[in-house]
Amino acid sequence: MNANAIATAEPLLRVTGLTKNFVIGGGLLARAPDVVHAVDNVSFAIWRGETLGLVGESGSGKSTTGRCVLRLIEPTAGKILFENSDVVQLNSDALRALRRDIQIIFQDPFASLNPRMTVGAIIGEALTIHKLARKRREFTERVVELLEIVGLQSDHMRRYPHEFSGGQRQRIGIARALAVEPKLIVCDEPVSALDVSIQAQVINLLEDLQQKFGLAYLFIAHDLSVVQHISRRVAVMYLGRIVEIASAHDLYASPKHPYTEALLSAVPVTDPEARRQRIVLQGEVPSPMHPPTGCHFHTRCPIRKLPLCSSEIPQLKETSNGHMVACHLRS
């Protein structure tokens, strides 16, 4: 559980200074376009076989970060080192080869499967693209194997996605990602759209797969309890920046950043007797188009100290073993 013990080996993925800006509007006759700073100078690392949780609310940039790691979205700036090659610099052939190492599972089990393809075709598509199964028989065997790994049956191959429930579709999505035997899977809110009891099934499946195949996960979610359960380390994002990174245990036991504290206290617990002092943040999340100056969180922060917090951007600094915070007052 100690983050330092793993730190000796080289990380599988090291992201440095990742930035993504979206330009909205513009064109010949429009006024100056708006820029959305979706991801702002984000850095983290993931080691082989471990899970890094990435939490944040809407507008935090966590989904964009996940997609940039795969280069599904082109980053504006930054380095993404996967096994020592920079993902950002890869040409299209190398990028296609990378798709065998990094895969993604999506949030929406209904939209992420092509309604006009059979389940077998969906799961086996990667095999066709990367020429991993030369003959028809090999293809079918591998697809059946994948179906069984995720807890579905072989005769599901011929069915179509709309015949399955949300949880089953999510399993299909997982099988699809596993087809190439990846080393890292970006899980973009994989259980948020599922019922609670199905969530547990899929989380257990993801954990089992991690054990079995030595997979690393970048687990993106907004549900803190799920993230804590599955992750070894957790990073908290707010408006495009990482505000705190720590081991799962440390983050939840002793959060340092005021946003993390508020986030944790906002989570409803299934214990009616617990009378907690809840920190209710005032105001709304600012728009990523016009983020506050300095520390993005200062407009809602209960402990802010002006003018420091509104003028200088706090950097991530290490406070204790592997526990990093970006706050002028707490690091």
Partner: protein, 317 residues
């Protein structure tokens, strides 16, 4: 509003319930599902039957109705419908039914081929425009708008006038005119298809399953052909049926104006052209081909309506 009925909430609930209940009762593909929905449209199904009967009649005509189409027999001219000539005869004594059955083949062939041309050209342009992220998309749409603002009939006439003789020389009389008409009609009907396809592509390319294909390493071509096109086809098919109808009318118009096929080829429009001078003496001569055009176009339009509901993508998910 709290006091009024939110149609979306209750309609969604009903739809969710239906989907959830279906579970895995029996396996069926999206196309079969569409067919089931189509079957519910009684008018569309009736039209399909009528159209099928007409096509069968036209195709099997030479086997069943062995009357020559150009058997000139002045003694039998301008006779009303009778047993030997169910649709009557024209001014040369030729059997109208036989001529209609023959001409029907051409009319339908022109309709179908023109539709294919329009769909292929329109889909290609729409697909390229829909997938591009730079200046190509807007440029193609500008081209589409340009074509849309051209006056169709005068252009049709101009092109025919310019190219009819050349094509006749190369492909023979009938072939040349056929190609000319198909290209001209199809070439002026691709624009709505292009717009439709582009709109579909713009929305489909952002869908998660397309993103998933990209994440798997699929090339752009694969994304388009395997993922986007099959899901974009719904509205395109519907537009296609409308095109067939419009093409048949266009061909009939051309023939009626004397600008289509040569005079001895009895397309329905041509028969109308010949019959127009005898409307008071032999109205049946115009009524039958007119009715045939009307019925064909009407059936195709109803089928198109049925298809539109059957292929509604929202019903599949």
């Amino acid at each position: 509003m709290a006091g009024s009925i939110p149609a979306s909430a209750s309609a969604e609930t009903s739809a969710e319930i239906a989907t959830a209940a279906r579970g895995a009762t029996r396996p069926f593909s999206p196309w079969l599902d569409a067919w089931r929905r189509f079957r519910r449209h009684r008018l569309a199904v009736a039209s399909l039957v009528i159209l099928a009967v007409m096509i069968a009649a036209i195709l099997l005509a030479p086997l069943l109705w062995r009357v020559a189409i150009n058997d000139i027999d002045f003694s039998a001219h301008l006779q009303g419908p009778s047993w030997p000539h169910p649709f009557g005869t024209d001014d040369l004594g030729q059997d109208v039914l036989a001529r209609m059955l023959y001409g029907g083949r051409i009319s339908l062939a022109v309709g179908l081929c023109a539709m294919v041309v329009a769909l292929v050209v329109g889909t290609m342009i729409g697909a390229v425009a829909g997938m591009s992220r730079g200046w190509v998309g807007p440029a193609l749409m500008w081209l589409t708008d340009l074509f849309l603002s051209l006056p169709q009939l005068p252009l049709l006439l101009l092109v025919i006038y310019l190219f009819r003789d050349t094509l006749k020389a190369i492909f023979g009389v009938e072939g040349g005119v056929f190609i000319l008409i198909v290209v001209v009609i199809g070439g002026l009907r691709w624009m709505p298809v292009a717009r439709l396809v582009r709109a579909q592509f713009l929305s489909l390319r952002e869908k998660e399953f397309v993103e998933a294909a990209r994440a798997l390493g699929a090339s752009k071509l694969r994304q388009v052909v395997r993922h986007i096109l099959p899901n974009a086809l719904g509205p395109v098919i519907v537009a296609g049926t409308i095109d067939v109808a419009a093409a048949i009318i266009a061909e009939s118009t051309l023939s009626f104006l004397g600008l289509g096929f040569p005079p001895d080829v009895p397309t329905w429009g041509r028969i109308l052209y010949d019959a127009k001078d005898y409307l008071d003496i032999a109205p049946y001569w115009a009524i039958f081909p007119g009715a045939a055009i009307f019925l064909t176009v009407l059936s195709i339009n109803f089928i198109g309506d049925g298809l539109r509901d059957a292929l509604d993508p929202r019903g599949v998910t």
